[in-house]
Amino acid sequence: MNLVFVILFGLGVLSLTLSDPQAVLPTLLSGTKQGVDTSLKLTSVYALWVGLMEVLEQSGVQDKLSKLFGKVFGRLFKGESPRTHALIGLNLAANFLGLGGAATPVGIDAMASMTGEKNAVSDNMILFFVLNITAVQLVPTTVVSMRAAEGSMSAGDVILPTLVCSVASALFGVGLCLACRAVSRKLRARRA
């Protein structure tokens, strides 16, 4: 990520300096401003959902969820605690139902509870992250409502193709993660 940051930041500033040097500072500041705006928006969303999740946690539902999700995710996320399995399950379920605001804080919680490696994120964390970016969702609400607003004849037409596409990319992602894990283990074994 450090490399990506330097390249994007550096090339961006360089090319903007060549075309319009006066725009550089306002552009940079509008970037951090967007960071502030998004954080404020997220604060209200998270206050609601993390608050409700705390209620859920204190009512002891997670123990039951751990058992349920442990069976499903125990094999895929080996070596993680039952609590982590419950959080992963809750995160993916909330995402699937389109409750993004609820999914993210639970997902961050799951990520923070995973066993890390020295200085680096673990294979399980990457797998969880990749599952999250495939956007497997029952109804892509934002897109469907935008289509309806634009006067589409069949706004819901895209629901099934979207689901097919995201499930396929989730499978592809899991496969790619497992392949990368195998390769990195082999490299480490050779080094050791």
Binding site: G35, T43, E117, A120, F129, M153, C165, F172
Partner: protein, 171 residues
Amino acid sequence: MPNLADYILPLAVLGILGLGALKKVPVFDAFVTGATKALKLIASIFPYLAGIFICIVLLNQSPLGDGLDSMLSPVLTALGVPSPLTRLFVIRPLSGAGSLAVLEDIYARYGVDSYVGRCASVLVGGSETVFYVLAVYFAGAKGKKLRYALPVALAVTFFSSVLACWVCRVM
């Protein structure tokens, strides 16, 4: 007319509240504890967001974005992605609000129910804002080195975006 899906969220909220009351949880106290955690969460995420958004804005405002577009366009066309979608392809992993703006523009220009419009819908719906999710999810994780996370994520997004155009041809 509310859809069936519109009931998921209210029911989830009611379910959580009802369950808390049933199990004799001090619901308000628990909620406040949670909301406090939310504040800490934001504090840990914000610096990452600031960094990521600088890059996104730069890519949008500088000629760099256009350069990336013209580089990718021939590759994408060869893979069966219509060329009006190149911009969306580039911006999708970077910015959620940005891709919705591009999507809106595509609807206006090519029509919602056209092939291009449907491809764009599936492309946006079937993938995520990778850099944003990366910043938010890994902000609290143990360990800083991301190893193969970003390349795999971008490969998956690429796969999903190309697949979107193929799926729309048959479905």
